[in-house]
Each structure stands twice: as C-alpha cells, then as structure tokens.
C-alpha cells in the first residue's frame, strides 16, 4: 500500500499557556514500525492521543489512515487499535470474554470472533487460561493479551503507549515478536518506549524533546548523525537539552 498511514503537519496542542506538543510534523508509511521516543513529559502521550482521536489538536493538520483528526475521529477509531499506558482490559472478565467484547465492538461476527479468538489464544499459548479472569494473569501475559486484542480487528495502524513498561526482558522479547508478526501482516506500528534496545527494533524513530521532534530517522542514521555507538547515547544527547522538568 502506497498510502501513508499517518501524515502529520505542524500538529500542536496547548493546555492554557503550556504547549504540550509544539508544531510536530512527520509521516509514517503503511507497515512501518515507528518508534516514538522522548523523556517523561516530552509530549508523546498527548501527541498519540491526538492521532487516536481522543483529543482535539489546537492547530496543525494530521490524517490517520487517511482520515482527518479534527473531523473524522470516529472513522479513525474504526481503523486503528490502541493500547494505553494503563492496562485496559476488564479484569473481572475472562480472557475469552474480553476478546469477545473488544472484537465484537469492532464489528467482528460470532464466526470471526471464534476464528480470531482461537488463533490469538494459540499464538499466545494461553489455551489453559481462556476461562481465567484477566485480573489473575501475570503482567507480561496481560500486556501480550492486550496487544493481541488491540489488533484483533486487523486495524491499519496500532498505537502502543509504553506497552512493555514493567515487563521482564524475556516477555519483552516475546512482545516484540508479536509486534513483528503484526507488522508482517501489514499493520503499521506506532510505539512509544523508554527501552533503547526496543528502539533499535524500529524501522524509524523520532525523539521528542519539550514538545518538539528533535530527531527523526532510522536508528542507524541517527547513531551516525550523533556520532554515537548506541541509541542510549543518542537519547542522552538529545534529552539533556530538555528545559522541561520530567513529571
């Protein structure tokens, strides 16, 4: 698909005098894994919420899956998946009931739910957990389940806000396997993270500092540009210039 998954020009969000997101511009190609980096309080989540149709931009332009973020939020919502910082499945529902609920509200039929649900459970190896309450699962499993549920309706783009926060390294690795599998199916991945090893897995990354995007390229090019040996060094070089205090 040639069409860009995300086109963003001069997107800005103000809260009173505070400019949370300051005039950011970037494009994301369909099927790309796009890393959205930045220190705490740099404005990543605010930017992501605007792209998901959860928050009105103050100014600028953006199209997600070809739909305008000012006027077509509901159309955007039909075409994206979203996994927030907070765990968002229902803890008092079972694994299967959560799959049924979230798949169902995206319009999957009973037959599709069964097929997709079984496929998802096999992929995650959660056959024995199907009837367990989601609240009783370990965090790593919850996050993998939440991701799989977020893409159950085959969205064009999935937004992941620090999906691997607090997850052990082995599970993080498995989580990224899921991300690659989804990207192979053509789903665009838009992911924020604080782990620089994860940043290396991305096709391209942007780094936000004080609401602006200060760097945007492939990990290799960025390292070259900043004469750094690792993404860690690139991040430090940029984040040190931040004026805003982290939250």
């Amino acid at each position: 698909m040639n069409e860009r998954a995300i086109v963003c020009k001069g997107l800005t969000k103000r809260f009173g005098d505070f400019i949370a997101v300051n005039n950011i511009s970037f494009d994301v190609d369909q099927g790309e894994i796009f890393g959205f980096l930045g220190a705490n309080g740099a404005g990543k989540t605010t930017a992501m919420r605007m792209l998901c149709g959860l928050s009105y931009p103050t100014s600028g332009e953006a199209a997600v899956a070809g739909y305008n973020v000012f006027k077509q939020q509901e159309a955007i919502k039909r075409n994206i998946g979203y996994m927030s910082q907070k765990f968002s499945l229902y803890e008092s529902l079972t694994v299967k009931e959560n799959i049924r609920f979230y798949g169902g509200v995206y319009g999957l039929s009973d037959r599709q739910l069964k097929e997709k649900g079984d496929e998802l459970i096999t992929q995650l190896g959660m056959e024995n957990e199907v009837k367990k309450m989601v609240g009783s699962l370990p965090l790593g499993w919850k996050q993998k389940l939440a991701f799989s549920v977020a893409i159950i309706h085959q969205p064009r783009i999935v937004f992941l806000d620090e999906p691997t926060g607090g997850v052990d390294p082995v599970t993080r690795r498995q989580f990224w396997d899921l991300i690659y599998a989804a990207a192979e199916k053509g789903i665009t991945i838009f992911v924020t993270t604080h782990y620089m090893d994860e940043a290396e897995y991305c096709n391209r990354i942007s780094i936000m500092v004080d609401g602006r995007i200060d760097a945007l390229d492939t990990p290799a090019n960025l390292k070259q540009q900043f004469r750094a040996t690792s993404m860690d060094e690139v991040f430090y070089a940029l984040a040190r210039s931040a004026k805003r205090s982290a939250d």
Binding site: G53, I80, K86, L89, S92, L93
Partner: protein, 371 residues
Amino acid sequence: MRTLRLLLEKEFRQIFRDKGLLPVIFILPLIQLLIMPLAANFDVKNINLAVVDRDHSTYTQQLVSKIASSGYFHITGYHNDYTPALRQIEREKADIIMEVPAHFEQDLVKENKAFIYLAADAINGTKAGLGSAYLTSILADYNNEVRLKWLPAQPAAAGTVDLRFSNWFNPYMNYRLFMVPGILVLLVTMVCGFIAALNIVKEKEIGTIEQINVTPVKKWQFIMGKMIPFWVIGMVDFTLGLLLARLVYGIIPVGNLALLYMFLAVYLVALLGFGLLISTYSDNQLQAMFVAFFFIMIFMLMSGLFVSVDNMPGWAKVIAMLTPVTHFVEVVRMIVLKGSKFSDIQFQLLVEVMFAVVLNGWAILNYRKTS
C-alpha cells in the same frame, strides 16, 4: 444493536462478579426497609409531664388522672412550686410543665373561669408542639365536661361545636402505611443513584474508558449499556421491597400495579441519568461519591418524605419540585394508599419524563469520546 448487547453482557457480568457490590444492591436495602419504618415514627408518646399543683383540689385530681389516662403522658412528679418543676425540665426529666394555680377549683366554680399555665421545653420542637396540642385538647375536653356538669339546667349555653373527623385512606393513622412506601422510594433512589454515579467514573479511574473511547462504540450505546443494567436492578429492588412491605407490614397497593411500575420505569431513567451525569463530571470515585451524597441528601430531606412539601416556604417548594424524587414519593403514596388513577398522576409523570430526557441528554452530551 450488537454493540449494545455486548456492552450489556459485559456490565451484567461485572456486576454479578462483584462480590462486594451484590449485597449492597440487594440485601442492605431490604434490611433497611425492615428497620427504618420502625424507627421513623413521628407519633409522640411518653411525653413527660411535671405537674405544679397549688390547688390540691378534687378538680385538679380529676384533670391529672384524665391526662394520665390518655396514654400520651407520663406524669413525672407533683410539685408545690414552679421552680422544682423547672429544674426537672433543665435536667431533661420533664418535657412540659402544667401549672394549676391556687384557688383553681374555687375560681372555676364561683367565677366560671380559671387559668392553667403550660410551659413546654421547645428544644425538641416536635414533642413540645404536639404535646402542648394534645394537652390543650384534653383540657378543652375537660372544660366541656365541667360545663355540662355545672350547667345542666341551661341547655342554651351548651352551644359548643363538636368536631368529628375521619382519616381517609389511612383510617387508623398508621404511620407505617405512610412511611413504608416512602422509604421504599428512598432505598431505590440511594442504591441506583449511587451505583450509577460511581460507575462511569470507575472506568475512568481504571483506564478502561480510554479503551472504549478509542473504539467505534457510540456515546448513546455506552450510556445505554450503563443505564439498562441499573434500571433492571432498580426494578428488582423495588419489587423485592414491595413484597417485603406486603409480608411484613401488610401493605398492599390499592391502586394499579402496572401504573406504579410505569411510573417507576420512567423515574429510574431520570434518576440513573442523574447518577451518570455526576459520573461524567467527576474525575474519581471519591469525588462522585461526595457529589452524589450531597444531592441525595437534598433529595431525601426536600422530597416530602419526612417533611410535607406543602409546609415548606416558597423557595424550598421550588427546590423540592426540581428534584425527581419528590414527584415519585408523591405518586407512590397516591397509588399505594389512595389508588390514584392515570389521570391523577399524569402531571407528575410528565415532569418525570422531562427529568429523564434532560438529565440523560445532558449526560450523553457531557460524556466526550474526544476531549
């Protein structure tokens, strides 16, 4: 429709899996219905009366024994002087002092008139007011007896007006008959008002509402998905309460049950709309709880449940009319006790429909998927 069905499935599962919430929804209200009508009794009995008798005559004796036999008064002591009787009031041993002056009998026989002095402890206003009223009526009665005894030969003088009245719809002035339907309203209001107020905000706290907001679920579907389960709970609670009222208090609605339920159905929509509206405005459950508590207190005190709306000053009546609870309390009493028909309650029904439309419309408007 499918989305709504999925939302309902989810809500019902969550409610029935919440082991802490279930007893609060179904058991506590019934326990309250068993206890509150027994306590919320406005009949004034056991009024403590201190008698100051300066006359020590047969007439005084007759008067006091008449008062004692009424069943409302408890004679706490006889005193020769006012001061010790006042001490009794100060020590909260007596509620009312009745002072019979010296030469009471003599004055009454000779001069055809005599005075009795009553002093009531008005700290408990109800007891003072009702107690004095009872005493006055006993004294009037006594007065009549004396007149008849003394003036048998002058029938023309016995031209007193004798008032007789009967109490319609509640002939024995059974307080429970009046209170139980009202308390039933209170319970349904508390349970449904609070769970609705706490619900959406709970999803805000957990963060699941953000996930809902990023799905194609429509605003009205989400609100309906919240509304319907609580509506069903309200209907079930009311039914259980009505059954209990019948079994324990022997209260059987005189009027049409279908009419009662029709009104309940509309009332619940209005009430839940109110709860959900609070929920959409609040950021956390604590906030929602306090706001809901504030309003439900006003509803309870201003709805005519405990204090008649007709007795309120004009501005208070306006507030009372602006709460959905007032109209429901009125209608429940009308249908249960009087057997009122549709034509009698259509005004209240119209008002309730307006509440339902405005509150829910407001809640849907204020719930924003994009902020």
